[in-house]
Symmetry: C2
Subunit: 109 residues, 2 copies
DNA sequence: TGTATAGTTAGGTATATGCCTAACTATGCG
DNA sequence: CGCATAGTTAGGCATATACCTAACTATACA
C-alpha cells in the first residue's frame, strides 16, 4: 500500500471517534490549548490527551508547547486528502449512474 | 450525540481500514458478488465477509442474495454525509484564514 | 520559596478488532 | 442423487482501543 493511502487510513480512523471529530471541529475555528479543548468532555485528562496524540500522529493536528501550555492547531492537508478520496469515489459512482442512464435510454428506443 | 453524527462515526471508522476502503473503491464502479470482491485479498473468506458486514452495518453498502450469490452495492448517502462534514470543516478553516488575512491586512495600514 | 496550574508518564482493565481454522448450510448442475 | 460452489456460523487468539487512577514534572506567580 502506498504511503499516502496509509495516511488516509489513519486519518479516517482518527475521525471515526466522536471525541476526536469534535476536537477537529473545534480546531477548525482556531488553535486552542489542551485544557481549553478538554472542557466539555466528561473524560479524565490523560484519556483526552491520548485522543490528541492520535490526531497528531496521523498529521491532522500539530502542537507547540510554550511554557506549560501546549497549543494545538489544525493541519488541513490530511483532511483535504481524505476529502479528495471521497470526492473521487463519488465521481466514479456518478459516472457509473450516467452510464446506466444512457444504457437504459438506449434500450428504450 | 445526534443520530446522523453517530452514522458519520461509523462511516469514518469503516473507511479507516484499507480492505474496506478498497471494497468501497471497487463498488464505486458497480455492484459485485462476495467472491468477486474477495479476489485479490490475501485473507480467509470469513475475515473478508466480516469487513463487508462492517460496511453494511454503517450503511455504506447493501446486499441482496439471489440463489447462493450475494451481491453488494454502494449506497452513496453515507459517503456523501461524511464528505459534507469534511467540506464543512474546511469552510470553517478557510473562513478563519480569511479573517486572519483581513486582520493582518488591517494592521498593515 | 511555596503553592497552584498545565500537562505527562506509568500502569491497569474491559471491550473491540482483525485475523484464523473447521465445520456447516444452501444452491446449482451433470 | 452426488458433487462442486457460494457463502455462513462458531469459536478462538493476539493486539489495539478507550477508558481509568495515581503519581509525576515543569512552569507561573505571590
Amino acid at each position: 500500500m502506498p504511503n499516502y493511502a496509509r495516511q488516509i487510513d489513519t486519518v479516517f480512523h482518527a475521525l471515526g471517534d466522536p471525541t476526536r471529530r469534535a476536537v477537529v471541529g473545534r480546531l477548525s475555528s482556531g488553535p486552542a490549548a489542551v485544557s481549553e479543548l478538554a472542557k466539555g468532555f466528561a473524560m479524565a485528562l490523560p484519556s483526552f490527551t491520548q485522543h490528541l496524540g492520535v490526531l497528531e500522529k496521523c498529521g491532522l493536528v500539530r502542537s507547540e508547547k510554550s511554557g506549560r501550555v501546549r497549543t494545538y492547531y489544525l493541519v488541513p492537508q490530511p483532511l483535504k486528502a481524505a476529502e479528495n478520496w471521497m470526492v473521487e469515489q463519488r465521481k466514479l459512482w456518478e459516472r457509473r449512474l450516467d452510464q446506466l442512464d444512457n444504457y437504459l435510454l438506449s434500450i428504450k428506443e
